[in-house]
Symmetry: D2
Subunit: 449 residues, 4 copies
């Protein structure tokens, strides 16, 4: 029972390019948006380095979080009108779940940090754990707002995000193969990149979505809208999220943070002294950071340090900082398994051309599982998408859709080897023409041979 | 003669949400985009504090600069096909102007800095002068790229932007009351804010636009498309650019920079020592900065310093930094001329409530002249919009459009007094209930009475 | 009291390009849509001859009627949620008005016939009277459906459309200067013509619209959205509805029907016998038609008769039919008052070139009053648009909007003289070169001189 | 050599919702659009009975034909700029093919008649043969316009449409698995139905499309745009073109024409006399029609006859006419092969309920082959879609796309049995409750069991 929730006397709106308006009807939602932890999301781009390729994609996690909330609000409002529970366990929608659902939707990404995945990889942070911390740690404004509803409300919200909440309808609405999160980000990323691969029929999906005992399903008449959603998401992965050039910028970013880490570790061990101390990064170099340290970081803070590093004495740190800030990507080729020998040959040629291969080459792989039916033998079995027939029986999506079946259970991969574009120079433009010719002999149609 | 220009063997494209694709056909354009000065525009928002109100408006000057270039490219390409000059001074389009036009379009905003207008106001910088400097100073990559065309090419490009270029067609295409710059920003700002006030019929305007001896005119059959553009721009000013809450955030930003300036000046005079030195701002506090200092600044750098200032010992600096970063706007009321007495009364009440009025109140005025016919008595006479009739004669726009005439020559203004929202608190929520009641008595329908 | 209304157990939707979905929640609305009188609207174009110019504008009164209903439904649903009446005469929304409002919105155009305005002019029919008849005559399916709600329900619905219903909120919602009808047709006509002059911010207007004692007003914060609506409508009139070529096709249509009428009258008087009897038009030639006769006519029926007339022995009837079906418009020039003498000269030249000026020339004038404040001295005083301030007081729109004031109370006019394009032939292409030269001497910049 | 082509001094435009503008640059194209055979396409809906379901889909073959021309024009213009042939047989684009390509694109549907497929089926007409006739028969205006280019130009244009033209690039551009025709209709049908299944990235496809020796291919970098096109088309078939209710209206139309044919045949044999003679249909009842007879028919003419038949004495003819005009569809269930026995049982129950099963039941099957690689064993082998790699080698689309492979070579089918909705009545609403109960026992989840 969340009796202490207060409805706003007059609903508030936020103008939004995707949903036209985002409607806020509860005091707690408005208060959450106004916390400093949530406002911080304005300073973290939704798509990291993607805007280096799709320059329009400059939107932030703030916008997406509002959008995810709005999709959840529309779903809950449709369930409330069309499928209200009449008695416990009837498989219909219990509207006392409304607020926990909306808060979880709004806060699902609150733990994301600057250049999330790359940063996490280098410094061993975990945005999901931090999300939980932000929600449950009494020091945060988010926690203080949530606690006004009831003392255990923060942990309930956190448990929705961590999939531990008892009602599967609530969990699936926020996190499943067709959830509020994915619906917002596909539409938003399409809009801001200026591509249209991610568009699908949101209104139709909202119309056929319904609760049932085991979670959220879709009326069978909406099968094509659901299919279109899965296919759209698959195409966005291949066209946008896997783009080889934005991954190249990620590679440079990783190498840059790695180089900085190495240099500052070395400094801590008494080897020399760097002229510039990146205040907010130091706890991460020391591998000893607090939640507050984490919350001070954003894209702009990291970029500010990179601007300083452009002038560092270390040539690699300085060069990588320039490559990142001024968008000078590495080049790449595709390869498939079991080419370690050829890759090593390539690395050797790169080294012979004067590059430190620890920092100027990389293997980078993108994976996505576009859809999967429930597979009890999997390490992380997916909640499959269920279609609900007129007589109430369920059918799993891929069993009725050829398109979905063709990509179901198959991991999409794109494995690439990254190297400096200097390796592709014309013979008459380089001192290393022997090396570049050797190098280019390994490549055909942008693939390793 | 810009003989050294090199066409790209295969045109390159940038995906863009507004123009679908931006087409790059010249090596020099591609090289300019790849300069560090141009890449820096990725880190400067197009609309400053507007995204605090329209959260989707997170686009940068990088995107707009590409867009302005693309509009100019489309115009030039249409002129080249439909109105090619046959002999000198025939009033038609001389395609040897193509490259200088495109470069000027691309670079017209290159001198913009972080939170431009506010920053300029506090630190006496001028983005137009800096634009000229970036283009003409041999130390910049931009200058080096332009100089490859010819030694005087940089100064030609700069003279287009400063309105000194001899051919008025080129100048008006980049800067006039209906130019490539405005056409891109209206469409782009509409798209990213999610409003539709700024939309107009770009394709139709491109179709009716044509060169004539005195500059750029529009076939009279397109009068309604031109009228619609002027009205759309007028509405965007009232609805978006003048928005009282984004101006409130600008007010806070100005007060914050002002406070920092005062404190650091005082420190330089030997009064105390601040714990944190904002490296890239120091030359501006000293009023002694180089072009290079200017180019190191961007939105993220300033925000990083604000994050540091949140923890400063000075309570005003710290509080203003928090209000800015966490979006806690001041409130405002409208007033009209000659209310200095009433404003002073309000200021006194704010002071009585414990606020330093130098930092917590402000008068802020927005002005725009939506359109004007040429007025030789004006200090800055405008180039009026000319419609070209079938027989070649010209008519000035407002003489045939009632709508345009109604706003022509009239400055739109919105004058506001800003103050802490605490002044509007309910009596039972504040210790200063006498003051707040007095204060509220001065206000009706959001206006000063 | 309309107790007998039956809510649909599951709401039904119609996919719509403008509103995405049209939601039907009441049995009576569904039943009305399924009547033969309403289905007939599928066979009547919304914009008559406009598709001869904007070929995409092939939409029908069926689509618009659904759209007008949907806008009304959204308004009523917003009023029901945000402004529910608590006691009689409190100026808020009494939801027992819901059904009469929705039915009136759906049926407001039910009396429109084939090529409405032209047909009415020639045959003295009146689509407004016929709307009333269709709703109130017991022979129609529409009447039978409405009567199920209550015996006087049909006349209530009719009285809303004829402005006689007592509650001004209901009347203004369907018919005023900013009503459901206009909101749908501007958006729809823009979409189908492919122009964007008619677009405005429907969601924002719906948000600021509210009931007050005297009717429907708009919160003052929405003034720019309302202003934008008025300006958009003004521009659609000038750009689309007044288009000289679609009016040219209307002129030909009028002349064609006139010629047919004359010939068949003459036949009835015993002069000759036409080979083809246009069955469904005969009652109109006889000026003696029933409601049933009227309901048999649609655009396709008239076109079918025109196809027959292409082969008629009368050369004028046959020629005009061909000109209409095969889109061979007359040309036109603008003129202003008091040029009867010059027009007569032009008519004489046309006659001298071998054309019957009764059928091959015409004066055609378009008028629109884009907005007017209430004017008690006017013959048809308008209900002005009221803005509602925070303290509940009202301001009339044009008193706060320069743009609206500039077009308020001023009739937009476009007066044209139509003639065969043969009059503009080059001298060497025609036998009547003396006449064409004389004719062309009267014209400059498409205007009569 | 088409030397006699005349470029328009000033290009003309048609405003279009899909392509914004349609650009006409050649006199012959303008003249073709102005022929009566082309103008007739304004009176024939693009999607036949689909607008009974998607009411917005009221667009005509006129709009689509212009759109198909415009897509072809854009392709040709891109080929001309980027891939101009330098010598015979170099696999690049020979621009002397431009005009024949554009004319073929414009005229590819010129032979379509009223309610094409249904009409053809009943009266043994063939729109493809008629297209050839309209182009090559000297009596048509189309032929006269084309002949001005050169005497054999009409037959060249016709041979492109019939796939007999020697240059496969020209043929594939107009007619292949990814051609100008399909690109226009998918976008247009999506826009007018208000669905978005048919949207794909036209600009990107135009960018990657290129000529090669064997026809038209696509750069491999555009594989996902091509894949998205194929998937979009597949989804439009399932969602829109196969819609069970528009097919239901087609079934009624077929039965109506069949009944009329039977009755008029019987009348010709001396059995009775019908009160109304549908002039333009008589040659088709007689199976003895000329091209001119065919060109007199359009949707409106047929509807006019249906309006007459509503009042016919034959109860079946009259009832079917009403069902068609007033949109009273039959209901349907899906079934799969080998259910003739069950279908016969259903037919018997329908007959027992008083319906003539020849007219009130039907089996209707929809088929589409969404994509196929070239299959020499097929009766109509398809030209497969070729992707062109960097080194010039080709790969067939389905070999690199899982999605396309999943639907490649598989015919999509939807087989349905249609029957009066009276068969699903509630027992207490019908005199035939035994029959309806029996009938409903054969159905589960809308399928025959």
């Amino acid at each position: 029972m969340h009796n202490s929730n207060q409805q706003l006397p007059m609903e508030k709106v936020f103008r939004d390019p995707i949903h036209n308006y985002i409607y806020v009807q509860d005091q707690v939602i408005l208060d959450l948006i106004n916390t400093k932890e949530f406002q911080r999301l304005r300073r973290i781009h939704q798509l990291g380095t993607t805007s280096f390729v799709f320059h329009g994609a400059e939107h932030t996690r703030f916008s997406h979080s509002l959008g995810c909330y709005e999709v959840a609000r529309q779903i809950v409002s449709s369930f409330e009108r069309n499928y209200p529970s009449k008695e416990a366990n009837d498989g219909l929608w219990d509207n006392s779940e409304r607020l926990v659902t909306l808060c979880a939707a709004l806060l699902h990404d609150i733990g994301h940090g600057a250049y999330s995945h790359t940063f996490e990889h280098i410094f061993n942070t975990n945005h999901e754990e931090i999300t939980t911390q932000i929600i449950t740690d009494p020091s945060t404004e988010v926690n203080q707002v949530l606690s006004k509803i009831s003392p255990d409300f923060p942990s309930q919200v956190a448990s929705v995000i961590s999939h531990d909440y008892p009602n599967p309808q609530v969990v699936q609405l926020i996190s499943s193969q067709l959830d509020a999160d994915r619906m917002d980000y596909l539409l938003r990323d399409s809009y801001y990149t200026g591509t249209n691969y991610g568009t699908f029929d949101l209104t139709r999906i909202l119309r056929v979505m319904r609760p049932y005992k085991g979670g959220i399903g879709f009326q069978v008449s909406g099968v094509h809208a659901v299919e279109d959603f899965i296919v759209s998401r698959f195409q966005m992965y291949l066209q946008v999220y896997f783009h080889s050039v934005s991954r190249s910028m990620e590679v440079i970013l990783a190498r840059l943070l790695q180089r900085a880490n190495t240099l500052y570790q070395s400094e801590r061990s008494g080897n020399g002294q760097r002229s510039f101390q990146p205040h907010y990064l130091l706890p991460f170099f020391d591998n000893n950071f607090t939640l507050n340290d984490y919350l001070k970081l954003d894209d702009g803070v990291l970029n500010t340090y990179f601007l300083q590093w452009e002038d560092d004495d270390d040539p690699i740190l300085s060069d990588l900082a320039k490559r990142f800030l001024n968008r000078i990507p590495l080049k790449s080729i595709q390869f498939s398994n079991n080419h370690e020998k050829e890759l090593n040959e390539l690395r050797q040629i790169v080294a012979d051309s004067g590059f430190d291969t620890d920092y100027y080459t990389a293997v980078n792989s993108s994976y996505d599982l576009p859809y999967d039916a429930y597979d009890p033998t999997s390490s992380k079995p997916r909640t499959q998408i269920e279609l609900i027939q007129n007589d109430g029986s369920l059918i799993e999506l891929s069993s009725v859709s050829d398109l979905v079946r063709s990509i179901s259970g198959k991991v999409s991969t794109d494995e690439r080897f990254y190297f400096p574009k200097e390796m592709l120079a014309d013979s008459n433009e380089t001192l290393f023409s022997t090396q570049t010719e050797q190098f280019k002999n390994h490549i055909q149609n942008n693939q390793l041979i």
